[in-house]
Point group: C2
DNA sequence: TTTATACGCAAGCGGCGACTTGCCTGTCAA
DNA sequence: TTGACAGGCAAGTCGCCGCTTGCGTATAAA
């Protein structure tokens, strides 16, 4: 089921996390927390972000790599391909 | 905000409705209800589907056209383009 | 061996969203 | 005009999700 994918994309904080990881791949949890606070004005706690990352990982949008006490997070946008393959995007007619 | 878009895609029933409308565009509410029950085994009530269609319309994924007492629903997949534009889909590395 | 750092686990709370229920409006046929 | 048909509105219920809180584990520095 691709339910995990759409569930992951359903939250604004998770989408911002994806933005951050696309801009700078391979961050740790604390780095992501810091950047979300600084650049995006988010106030979420570490645990909240950790849970968000777990959801993103379930959806296959984020892969993790352990190294000592650090855990690096890497984006993988390829699951998004399922979306455009499911509903082909037609050429646009401008809004009326 | 594209929050409406992701919110709309967040529900499995709404995604099935999109499937149905892509396969057969311009259906009325009752037609959609019937097809969801027949082909997809969904048991949602008419009001539930109506609310789903309202969400899809808010997201710009469905446009409606009134004709007498009928209301025809048309798909518009173009809002999905925002997704692939926001997070470019990279060429795939197969899973380990 | 202590102490700090980076992260994990799990229970609990609050709010939002999906769905139902009941009734109402508008259109068309008989 | 009466009735059936297609759809709309609004309040209420209930489960899930995002978040907090508190504690626990593992790695590395002092």
């Amino acid at each position: 089921m691709d339910a995990d994918l759409f569930k992951a994309l359903g939250d604004a904080t998770r989408r911002t996390i994806l933005d951050e990881l696309v801009e700078r791949d391979g961050q740790t949890l604390f780095e992501i927390c810091g950047r979300l606070t600084m650049k995006h004005g988010l106030t979420s706690s570490r645990q909240a972000i950790s849970q968000h990352l777990a959801v993103l990982e379930e959806a296959g949008l984020v892969h993790t790599r352990r190294e000592g006490r650090y855990k690096f997070h890497h984006v993988d946008t390829s699951p998004l391909r399922a979306i455009v393959e499911r509903w082909p995007i037609d050429a646009e007619e401008a809004d009326s």
